[in-house]
């Protein structure tokens, strides 16, 4: 209890002091999270919408279980895979992305992408199948139908964004392997927590954890406000 109380005091102390090291770690965390979330959404939403709308897609019976499996990928395995991909001997070694925030974004995107695809697909599929027919009857093109269907399923698509965001910001195994937890370069909140715990700095580790939770809560609160404004849950 004593440790917890001290952690809370330390957390506020670090926040109020705007400790440069902490600010740097928080900034890096946000940079990697926003980068990976952006790529996962830009790539994943159109793919999820296309699969959800194309009910007679060949190979659907295999594709959907593959996506569902991807939604539960062990992050540390993704980290290992990305590590091997980006290492000097790997096929993408020439890019020099290992132990860089870009490499971390790659790993996080691989983790988040199936979540975005799977949840967007489910959201789009939950729309009444007669609705696209009605839109077509009103003169909509295929692209207009896809965009309108996405707007109609916006509550579900927001859930995909929330799930992907949560998976990325809370992830530790993959970023640890691919980023290497290098101070001032690839250290993010989760890897910093692991490091401080190992060093026995439980109070600081807990303080970092509280900050991480605070950021996650504030962002999810904003997402929820957005959902409510859109007439969602």
């Amino acid at each position: 209890m004593d440790t917890l109380a001290r952690a809370l005091v330390d957390a506020f102390g670090l926040l109020l002091a705007l400790d440069p090291e902490l600010v740097e770690v928080v900034a890096r965390t946000l940079q990697v999270t926003i980068g990976a979330l952006f790529v996962a959404l830009v790539v994943g939403i159109p793919i999820g919408a296309a699969i959800g709308l194309t009910r007679d897609l060949p190979g659907r019976a295999i594709l959907i279980p593959v996506i569902y499996t991807g939604m539960g990928l062990p992050p540390v395995v993704v980290g290992l895979f990305t590590y091997l991909l980006l290492s000097n001997q790997g096929p993408l070694g020439g890019l020099g992305w290992l132990f860089t925030p870009t490499g971390m974004v790659v790993a996080q995107t691989i983790i988040a992408l199936p979540l975005v695809v799977g949840l967007t697909m489910t959201a789009v599929q939950s729309i009444d199948p007669d609705l696209p027919v009605q839109m077509r009857a009103l003169g909509a093109t295929r692209m207009q139908i896809a965009m309108t269907t996405l707007l109609e399923s916006r509550a579900g698509v927001t859930a995909a964004v929330v799930a992907a965001y949560g998976a990325i910001i809370s992830e530790v195994g993959a970023v640890m392997l691919v980023g290497g937890n290098i101070e001032g370069e690839t250290r993010v909140l989760t890897t910093a927590i692991v490091l401080e715990t190992r060093k026995g700095n439980f109070a600081l580790a807990l303080a970092l954890g509280i900050i991480l939770l605070g950021i996650a809560f504030l962002t999810n609160f904003a997402f929820h406000r957005l959902q409510v404004r859109q007439g969602g849950p």
């Binding site: 839109m135 009857a137 207009q144």
Partner: protein, 239 residues
């Protein structure tokens, strides 16, 4: 004048089942064609073919003399629209729903949107979310949404199947006006033989995908040629 639609040797199948089998049918410009028949007769599928939502398995479908392939040109598709039995409104305001067709066409004629909303008695509900409407109001919004794009052909698939007499009467009145004032061609699919009699210039009876009889409405009801038509009009079960 060229017929709006000419169907020649049209067959449409779902798997092994033939749902529409119409050797010949012409729909004239400006007419109201009523299509009556029991459930599962292929009436709705016929409308889907006429709205180019599906392409017939066999035969030639011509729209104003132009043969329509599997992908109907967008301009022709936008000449025709359907109001289905279920209103299928979007999760947005009534006015935004009515505006939808214009938006898809990159048009913006707000005064026409407002006129259609007022004509269907929805002025006070224009800014309300469509999901709060009653069934009758929602179907009126669906008709407003169809009329706002000024279609040459209005296809109606059991449009009043779920409505009370007041809403049914209002919809029939507006469809009649639209036909009289703008010369809109209307194909009305309905279970309600009285509705077809009230609105249609010609009426067809469709059973098991085939048109059993097609005649001027007066003739169809007063003097049916086919025994099946007479039986259907008497309310007997026909298959």
């Amino acid at each position: 004048m060229t017929d709006v639609y000419t169907l020649e040797g049209i067959e449409h199948r779902y798997g092994d089942r033939t749902v529409v089998d119409v050797p010949r049918l012409s729909i004239e410009p400006g007419e109201i064609l009523g299509v009556v028949g029991p459930s599962g007769a292929g009436k709705s599928t016929l409308l889907r073919l006429l709205n180019f939502l599906e392409h017939p398995t066999k035969g030639r479908l011509m729209y104003r003399g132009e043969e329509i392939g599997p992908d109907a040109p967008l301009a022709l598709r936008r000449d025709v629209t359907t109001v289905f039995q279920r209103p299928m409104l979007l999760r947005r305001s009534v006015a935004a729903n009515v505006r939808f067709g214009q938006k898809m066409r990159g048009e913006s004629d707000e005064s026409r949107v407002q006129r259609c909303i007022e004509r269907l008695g929805l002025a006070e509900l224009a800014d309300e979310p469509a999901r709060t409407l009653s069934v009758g109001e929602a179907q009126r919004a669906a008709l407003a949404r169809a009329l706002v794009v000024r279609p040459s052909v209005l296809l109606l698939d059991e449009p009043t199947g779920n409505l009370d007499p007041y809403n049914t009467g209002l919809l029939e009145e507006i469809v009649g006006e639209e036909n009289a004032e703008r010369g809109t061609t209307v194909v009305l699919v309905t279970h309600d033989v009285f509705q077809a009699r009230r609105l249609a210039d010609r009426t067809a009876l469709m059973i098991s995908g085939r048109i059993v009889e097609l005649a001027e409405t007066e003739e169809f009801y007063e003097n049916p040629k086919a025994p099946t038509t007479a039986a259907f009009l008497r309310g007997e079960l026909v298959l």
